[in-house]
């Protein structure tokens, strides 16, 4: 591999620019869909790009007494961890180095931003930030568990700890979506909690804690946080697609990319419809729902898969 091809791979095609376009495109789709569900027109396609550019151009203000290095590191670290996770997830038809246990690595890298999000609330010292940070930690402890438990149903069935292994198992046994539809739905609700989307946008509930941990952030740092969240959406959705629809396409083919994109768009539609349909839950209601209903359900589901 020569140096130009290397740079092209890192920066443009499967790398930064492509992922950025994918993330912002999904963001636009989300906004547009919610707008249409509510009877509005919705933004033009370049709106997320314009928002991001505007934020990068804005002055960066932090409250007095905040540790500047620490608060600058938080969004950078979370962005970096999501990007690293995305390099292990085979977006579209790109082959990635796959090894036993890369699933765990991805799950870890995807949960790092949630922890840093909580730290961001404490680092900026605003009252709303602290409340939002506490809430995000509570949500982290409940929804991270649910997501992992629900998605591990596919690991149990395929008997493999790597994304590629789960995918290969589906070529033999058929897509997991039909036999494991409950697991899929539970994993989706876990993903909503993980991405802090409506109806589980409790840590950043606008009418309660303004913007949660991100209240005091502005400019480039806020832009990075927003970008992180959008990339997390891409990562989470493609993980779900790989784990549940893995056998629908061959690697390294244009048709594969098309099928992948269609699935991605459909999943985003589902997420948008869910966030348009429900009111935001309260944090105690969320935890009760999660620990009393959803996590026992996913445990039962896994038990059933093991016995089978």
């Amino acid at each position: 591999m020569n140096i130009t091809e290397f740079l092209f791979n890192i920066l443009i095609f499967p790398g930064f620019l492509f992922l950025l376009a994918l993330a912002l495109g999904l963001d636009w789709l989300d906004r547009k869909l919610i707008a249409r569900f509510q009877g509005r027109v919705g933004p033009p396609w370049y709106q997320p790009w314009a928002d991001l550019l505007k934020l990068f151009a804005k002055e960066d203000i932090l409250p007095a007494g905040t540790n500047v290095v620490f608060t600058s590191l938080l969004p950078l670290l979370s962005f970096a961890s999501v990007m690293t996770a995305l390099f292990y997830i085979p977006i579209a038809f790109r082959r990635v180095p796959s090894f036993q246990g890369d699933f765990i690595v991805i799950m870890f890298l995807l949960s790092v931003p949630s922890l840093l999000y909580f730290l961001a609330g404490w680092a900026t010292k605003g009252v709303y930030s602290i409340i939002g940070g506490n809430r995000s930690l509570l949500q982290y402890f409940s929804y991270e568990v649910l997501f992992l438990l629900a998605i591990s149903g596919t690991i149990i069935t395929s008997n493999s700890w790597s994304i590629e292994g789960i995918r290969q198992a589906q070529f033999e046994q058929g897509a997991f979506i039909l036999p494991q539809i409950f697991g899929f739905l539970l994993a989706l609700s876990g993903l909503i909690g993980k991405l802090k989307r409506g109806p589980l946008d409790i840590p950043k509930a606008n009418s309660e804690v303004i913007a949660g941990p991100l209240t005091e952030f502005s400019g480039k740092k806020l832009a990075l946080w927003i970008l992180t969240n959008e990339l997390q959406t891409v990562a989470g959705l493609s993980l779900l697609i790989y784990c549940y629809f893995g056998n629908l396409w061959q690697m390294n083919k244009l048709s594969g990319f098309l099928i992948f994109s269609v699935l991605l768009v459909l999943m985003q539609c589902l997420l948008s419809a869910i966030s348009a349909m429900y009111a935001r839950l309260r944090i105690d209601q969320l935890i009760r729902l999660n620990w009393y209903l959803l996590i026992p359900l996913s445990l039962l589901h896994n038990l059933y898969l093991i016995i089978k």
Binding site: A35, R36, F37, Q38, G39, R40, V41, A276, M277, Y278
Partner: protein
């Protein structure tokens, strides 16, 4: 069975609503930009019928914000000045006028950056 279905429906109650709205036309109007059309009763700007006005001061007296000003030299020569920046376009002057002279119509003029432009001489009669 029907009861169970109804109960299940409460979990996705808004789904039919959002789908029907999704496939119908957006309610947003005047986007990105369209000229406004005002209703017939819209109170846009204060006008005057030159012939009817007798300078009786009724509108000036009843104006709640003192936006009208009458400069009267004699019975024949007077001038009525309208201060647009003070005016709330409530239409009280039209109601107070006994001679159908002052009225509000639905034309609308754009705001200006200069305060002087808000001072409109509605009427000038005789020698001042």
């Amino acid at each position: 069975m029907k009861k169970i279905l109804n109960h299940l429906r409460t979990f996705i109650y808004l789904l039919p609503n959002i789908t029907s709205v999704f496939f119908s036309k957006a309610e947003t109007i005047k986007y990105p930009q369209e000229p406004s059309n005002y209703s017939s009763g819209f109170r846009g700007s204060v006008r005057i019928n030159q012939q009817n006005c007798v300078g009786c001061n009724a509108c000036v007296r009843d104006c709640p914000v003192s936006a009208l000003q009458l400069i009267k030299v004699s019975k024949e020569s007077f001038s009525l000045i309208h201060q647009q920046d003070l005016c709330t376009y409530c239409g009280q002057c039209q109601l107070s006028c006994k001679f159908n002279a002052i009225y509000l119509d639905n034309t609308y003029n754009q705001p200006s950056a200069d305060r002087k432009n808000f001072r409109v001489v509605l009427l000038k009669k005789g020698k001042l």
